[in-house]
Assembly symmetry: C2
Homo-oligomer: 339 residues x 2
């Protein structure tokens, strides 16, 4: 390839094309009031020059990339997609870029390399699990880091999560108050704080009422619709099924509802179902799911505020924020007392 002049800014480009900077801008934004000839000239210069990333040069000088690394898992799950959408919106409103790192298809070595490259000013982790060193790698890297949605106990790091224990406790009490005595639980592996805290909170409410969730009424599923569906087969296809089931996420509850439907179990007539997350889908007629609202906007805004503070003042002590989660009653539970 021939040697080319390197240009770093639209001003360089304007100079080389012999037009004004605002003309360059109009060409690049496809503005209608640019003659075909001018447009062709600017694009020709653009194609011939090696338009050096000015932003990279600035990042080298300032140590800031204006980009935030966001670690997520399972973006196809409705709650995670909502979380991603809220993070994207918030970062954009602050003029920050998002480098998305989907840990679902990744190994820790690749994530570590990415973190060590330090191409971002800070990290948002929404997918922390007790059995992965990802959060330790992030914190040890010295990059400003915030954990959203899923927390890690005693990690010296800013964290913003819903109060999952209390939200699930309220679900337990709601079912107990309605008179349910045989209650089921569909949960996920306890490697994430959300699953653990929801299970503990729910069981605590039952214990307080002198009840328990028996082992045979407990299914440890995974994280998907089909896991909820399989749980329905296990809990409902027998002589004395529970009269109410708490699924610790909406997506598990959707699978449970579909499983109940396939077995001819009526909701809420034969069975009450409660989820957790209050995804948009929970309000659809197909599900009409009683669930617990996660304050996604507040989690994201508070978390990104903490991250920006830490980028500005790396030494401030870590803050852990727990935001309240409230039950949203819908048609998958009835308002009447059950016997």
């Amino acid at each position: 390839m021939a040697s080319v002049e390197r240009v770093g800014t639209s001003r360089d480009l304007a100079r080389l094309a012999g037009v004004s900077q605002s003309t360059v801008s109009r060409v690049l934004t496809n503005h209608p009031r640019v003659s075909a000839e001018t447009r062709a000239r600017v694009l020709k210069v653009l194609a011939e020059t090696n338009y050096t990333p000015h932003a990279l040069a600035r990042a080298m000088k300032t140590g800031r990339t204006d980009s935030i690394g966001v670690f997520m898992s399972r973006v196809t799950s409705p709650f995670h997609a909502t979380l991603l959408d809220a993070i994207a919106r918030r970062l954009r409103s602050l003029g920050l870029h998002m480098t998305l790192w989907d840990v679902e298809h990744d190994d820790i070595a690749a994530s570590s390399r990415f973190i060590q490259q330090r191409l971002v000013d800070g990290l948002v982790l929404t997918c922390a699990t007790f059995d992965s060193p990802l959060h330790s790698v992030a914190v040890a890297s010295g990059l400003p880091t915030v954990l959203l949605h899923r927390g890690i106990d005693d990690l010296a790091c800013d964290q913003v999560i819903g109060d999952n224990w209390q939200g699930a406790f309220d679900v337990g009490r709601y079912l107990v108050d309605a008179g349910h005595t045989s209650v089921g639980l569909v949960t996920s592996p306890l490697v994430v704080s959300t699953a653990r805290d929801r299970e503990l909170g729910f069981r605590a409410a039952l214990t307080e009422a002198g009840l328990t969730v028996s082992r045979r009424n407990t299914v440890v599923g995974g994280f998907s619709h089909s896991d909820g569906h399989r749980a329905a087969q296990r809990l409902l296809a027998r002589r004395k099924p529970p009269s109410a089931i708490f699924a610790i996420t909406d997506i598990l509850a959707f699978g449970l509802l579909d499983g109940a439907r396939s077995l001819g179990v009526g909701v809420p007539g034969d069975l009450w179902v409660v989820g957790y997350d209050n995804t948009d889908m929970a309000s659809w007629e197909s599900f009409d799911l009683t669930t617990v609202n996660q304050p996604v906007q507040a989690i994201v805004e508070t978390g990104i505020d903490l991250l920006r503070r830490r980028i500005a003042e790396p030494a401030v002590p870590p803050t852990v924020v727990r935001l309240p989660c409230e039950i949203v009653p819908r048609g998958s539970t009835a308002n009447t007392q059950v016997g």
Copy 2:
């Protein structure tokens, strides 16, 4: 702040901490076989030094960032989340980073600035619309660009899309062959190639059979579940509703099914419903939706292959690939002939 030595690599870090590079690596990846003392020493050096982004320096030198900019809209919509997931997986398997740009919450000026910063090696656009200059800005920037899922006619740019016209034509023929004569259409604004091609293909199949979709049987909705729901109210809450409706996306079809449910219209007994996209949710019992499969993996793999080719050889002529889409029959349509 005190002046600090700038370190660019884990080798520098190892030297300053007086340990081997593999020890640094073990510390950063939270490996159990590191003594607490060594770990503390490495983290102290890390905290004291300004660990200069080595990757940035490399990017300055090579002009490559190993990052791809991905433009999306509505990541909360199930098909888009699936597309995002497939893109993330593919880029990751190639060792590339993803900078996600969610145009839903954005204006074209911000997108243009991002493109002009050239912090990425190439662009993937999944959200091209006829009424936005985004695709022109991308192509004019000279950055290697590929359009996935939504195309722009005659744009000199690599493009990989499903054959939406043919897929929708097949839906029309499927309904005609089953004996439907009064057919409804729920579509989106024709600013995207998918909506336009699906509407045209569907109408062409009816025309071939001597039928039409009347104006009162056509609803131009938006892109969401609630738009499908509203369409159900308009099409079904009247004396002579259509006996079959094609919704041009699954998400519209889900809203339509929920709307039909709320009106007490039986599917497929009173009404056949067909969607498009074959999202995972289409197979759930709640919907059991006949739909048209989009070959997401093939679209993404082919598209990213074309993008990598263009990064390596910027001058190759643009390629447009159209991949076949097949009907997936499920319970929202019956296999029997209707009258």
